[in-house]
């Protein structure tokens, strides 16, 4: 591991404050505009929602000043902007469908922010998380498989990735993704030498020993299990992609990527040959307009129509018809933005995500410990993968799956887990950007 000297020594909390105010201004302004466009008047609750969001994120900002003064100053404002935009679009759909999901989303934002603050306050050094490597493994796999249990597992829209207790439902996979990132980081930081250095060379690739293939085969089997039994290609892809990415970063061996990709493609093709629900997804992906698949593809097709009607500049907030698309507030919030804010809005949104992910990866590069590097890389990559799987699903780059856009889409589990992800990234970035102690160690 290379020795990294800190480039930046200033906390940059004031930069963060300015950016936060810009983010809040965009979100609150958009919220007000939606009311004017859709109902012809400013919604009475704009001050509550806008004020609520402002109090929450400014609270995080204040906490950062105390417990993580050197944290990356861009991550929180971007998160705020995306979360705020999500609230706006959900509010906009509320007005069309006479629901009140935006309030619940704000409540979940509060819970997520609370969890983030708790993580920042309680975890003063991310390295202590490495102690919980195997606990995280057990908990993570348990959560991942929880929806398969009878009674509490719930099948929603074809995917069995939910658990329900009474009126509450939750996607345990969202939390599992953090725990698994933690486990992969903790496990691979210790196992990386044998995985990286031992083995034969073949066709320019450093091939691992058969016994070192164990972990990746286990991960592969588990992700296939998720695909087959929970019927969720998205979670499967997220989980396996996360593992392969962290494995690659840990070992610096391209062969792991080749092996991983081959395994995933083979598994996916196998699943496609065998399972009708996978075939249906693929049919919808490849032929959404054909008569045979048209009924099933309704959501995808309506999403495409929505984006197409938005064109380059969009219809304007509150001026389109995103409510035609089923579940526009969760799975298809991306198309709602495409419709009303246009390709311009989509580009802005994707670039926000890209910057967020790249800031996370920058944090990984800056981190001074292997565990921190792998954890930050893993968590950042999950955000990127989720964006890709969702936005790629609705724009037909890949088959549509059950994931949602981080921070943007309606859903408590996702908001909660992603705010925790942000808190961990902020914590690692604080360590990475903090002026190096007198004695620099690698």
């Amino acid at each position: 591991m290379a020795v990294v000297t800190a480039v930046e020594t200033r906390p940059r909390r004031n930069v963060e404050l300015v950016l936060l105010i810009v983010s809040l201004g965009i979100a609150i302004g958009a919220y007000v505009l939606v009311g004017i466009a859709a109902e012809g008047r400013v919604q009475a609750n704009w001050m509550w929602v806008g004020g609520g969001l402002a109090v929450l994120v400014l609270g995080v900002h204040a906490v950062l000043r105390v417990v993580a003064p050197y944290a990356d100053p861009v991550i929180l404002p971007i998160t705020t902007a995306i979360n705020g935009l999500g609230l706006v679009v959900i509010h906009r759909l509320d007005l069309a469908e006479e629901t009140s999901l935006a309030t619940r989303q704000l409540l979940w934002t509060a819970i997520g922010v609370g969890a983030a603050v708790a993580v920042l306050v309680l975890v003063r050094d991310h390295r202590i998380l490495a102690r919980y490597t195997w606990t995280a493994a057990v908990l993570g796999f348990a959560l991942l498989l929880l929806p398969l249990l009878p009674f509490i597992g719930r099948n929603i829209r074809g995917a069995r990735i939910w658990i329900g207790l009474g009126p509450l439902s939750f996607q345990p996979g969202e939390i599992a993704k953090i725990l698994l990132a933690l486990f992969f980081a903790g496990y691979l930081v210790t196992a990386r030498d044998s995985l990286a250095l031992v083995g034969r060379r073949f066709l320019g690739l450093q091939l691992p020993r058969a016994r070192d293939l164990g972990p990746i085969l286990v991960a592969w089997a588990l992700s296939l299990g998720v695909l087959v039994f929970e019927r969720d290609l998205g979670t499967s892809l997220l989980f396996f992609g996360l593992f392969v990415a962290v494995l690659y970063v840990a070992t610096e061996r391209t062969s792991w990527i080749v092996i991983g990709m081959s395994l995933f493609v083979a598994g996916a093709v196998l699943a496609w040959r065998i399972f009708s629900h996978v075939q249906r997804r693929v049919d919808i992906w490849l032929h959404p307009f054909e008569p045979g698949t048209f009924e099933n593809a309704f959501q995808v097709v309506q999403g495409l129509y929505g984006m197409a009607s938005g064109g380059l500049l969009g219809t304007g907030l509150g001026e389109g018809r995103p409510d035609i698309i089923p579940f526009a507030e969760s799975d298809f919030i991306f198309t709602a933005i495409g419709e009303e804010l246009g390709l311009t809005g989509i580009f802005a949104l994707l670039l926000l995500y890209l910057i967020l992910v790249e800031r996370g990866l920058r944090t990984a590069i800056g981190a001074r410990d292997g565990f921190g590097k792998l954890l930050a890389a893993g968590l950042s990559f999950t955000i990127a993968l989720q964006c890709f799987v969702v936005a790629g699903g609705v724009t037909r780059v890949i088959p549509l799956t059950g994931l949602v856009m981080p921070f943007l889409a309606y859903g408590g589990s996702s908001l909660l887990s992603n705010w925790i992800v942000v808190a961990i990234l902020l914590r690692i970035s604080d360590a990475a950007r903090r002026p190096a102690p007198a004695e620099v160690t690698g």
Partner: protein, 484 residues
């Protein structure tokens, strides 16, 4: 571990680049194609969200768009809906627009080429685009008279101004309520539509121009008489008019509707043959002049020709290659002769207008949304020269005789010379005949030409005849025209 991290960052950037590309493809490259798809409800909302122009009759809207608070923004509303249903058609979110709503759709919704400059200026002034309004030639008093006169009988009435071709009335019964099909509740609209489709009385048919064509029966004798007169006959030419005409090549014969011959010594003048509607006389004329002469005459009146008024009219037909007995049958409007009421009105109108048939027209003018600029004003247009002026005059004399002292007495109007012809078209065993009447008046300065058909004998059933059932209806409509 920093080298793979940097490469991972590049991979992430590539993933996002693919998303930017795919979003660009959807929202820019393939957007026009996606927007043009017929199942795209957004495109529908856009189309239905336009301020569609009204359809006007005498300056008053019979179809207009009213702003409503739903996704479609505008609701199409019809007044005197049933009476005008054959003309307006309907404008539905589920089905294709019909009637004038369909025929003048691009004018009403503002996308017609004629409206290009207006749209351009709308673009720059930021004004909401509005459709043009279409004013019809229909005279509401005449329309109402025809609608009321038909009562609850099935059938159709068409009235024309013979000098211009303007359609003064177009009624088809039973009508329907286009409001039921113009609603925004897809389930309700579908239910109403299916109800209308399943109705054995076929209310969605515009019987006046585009329903199932009718056998014309004796009103067709005007065409046969025209062919004979053009071929050298005069109204006084004596023709064979026995009680029953033996048809060549078969054992069948063609009888008169009334028992007995049409005149002394089985001879009758052409004028009297039309006056009393003598089947055998016209059968023998048909055999004499042949099917080609009758067909040619029929085509001069418009048979077999495509016609848009701008509603599309189903062309009337004369059989292509009848044998002699079939020719005799066809000469009296039976066998395979099939007509629309509008075609029969055009025959009368041609006779009324000195032999010249004017092109029937429903549009009086098309006005821009502000109601001031005339975008389109169809001028009267010659459709065909059906008969010479002399033949037209002869036919007029003969048709006046029908009303004065023949089968059409019930169409007499005190102080007005009415020219007409009855028809009682057999539909085969067990079904009452269709009752026809066609006329024009005043005979010396025609203001209106009309065709009336009442299906299945109307209120009189088997006892019906054109003179008893259809002539009184024609009379009321003519009076409505003359009294306006």
């Amino acid at each position: 571990m920093n080298a793979p991290l940097r490469r991972l960052a590049v991979v992430v950037a590539l993933l996002f680049a693919s998303l930017l590309l795919s979003a660009t493809y959807v929202q820019f490259v393939s957007a026009p194609e996606l927007n043009a798809r017929t199942d795209n409800r957004r495109t529908q909302f856009k189309e239905f969200g336009r301020d569609r122009g009204p359809i006007l009759v005498d300056g008053r809207p019979i179809a207009q768009s009213v702003e409503v608070d739903d996704p479609y923004t505008y609701q199409r509303k019809y007044t005197s809906a049933q009476m005008y249903s054959a003309v307006t058609g309907f404008y539905s979110i589920v089905y294709k627009p019909t009637g004038m709503e369909g025929a003048t759709n691009d004018l009403l919704n503002g996308t017609a080429d004629q409206l290009f400059y207006r749209r351009l200026s709308d673009l720059f002034t930021g004004r909401e685009p509005q459709g043009a309004s279409v004013e019809l030639t229909i005279d509401p008093k005449v329309q109402k008279a025809a609608w009321d006169a038909l009562g609850n009988q099935k059938g159709a009435v068409v009235a024309l101004d013979p000098k211009t071709g303007a359609i003064l009335a177009m009624v088809s019964k039973p009508g329907y309520d286009p409001n039921a099909l113009a609603g925004h509740d897809v389930a309700k609209v579908t239910k109403a539509w299916n109800g209308l489709l399943d109705d054995p009385d076929r209310p969605l048919d515009n019987r006046a121009i585009a329903g199932r064509l009718y056998p014309p029966g004796s009103v067709f004798k005007i065409v046969t008489a025209a062919a004979a007169l053009e071929g050298g006959y005069t109204p006084d030419t004596l023709v064979d008019g026995p009680a029953s005409l033996d048809l060549p090549q078969t054992s069948a014969s063609l009888p008169n509707d009334f028992a007995g011959a049409c005149g002394p010594n089985n001879k009758v003048s052409l004028l009297d043959a039309l006056r009393i509607s003598c089947n055998t006389a016209f059968g023998s004329i048909g055999l004499e002049i042949g099917d080609d002469a009758i067909r040619a005459q029929a085509e001069k009146f418009g048979f077999g020709k495509a016609l848009d008024v701008p509603l599309t009219v189903t062309p009337s037909t004369f059989p292509a290659d009848p044998n002699p007995p079939q020719t005799a049958q066809s000469a009296i409007g039976q066998f395979d002769v099939r007509v629309s009421p509008l075609q029969i009105a055009m025959v009368s109108a041609g006779v009324a207008n000195g032999g010249v048939v004017m092109r029937p027209q429903l549009v009086k003018d098309v006005l821009s949304a502000n109601g001031v600029d005339v975008i389109q004003r169809p001028q009267p247009e010659r459709f065909s020269d059906a008969v010479s002026g002399q033949v037209a005059a002869d036919l007029t004399r003969m048709m006046v005789a029908v009303v004065d002292d023949g089968t059409g007495k019930r169409a007499q109007i005190p102080g007005v010379r009415v020219a007409g012809k009855t028809g009682t078209a057999q539909q085969g065993e067990g079904r009452p005949p269709n009752a026809w009447f066609t006329a024009f008046a005043p005979a010396d300065d025609p203001k209106v030409a009309i065709a009336v058909v009442v299906e299945d004998g109307g209120a009189l059933g088997d006892a019906a005849s054109g003179g008893r059932v259809a002539a009184p209806i024609a009379k009321q409509v003519i009076e409505a025209v003359l009294n306006r």
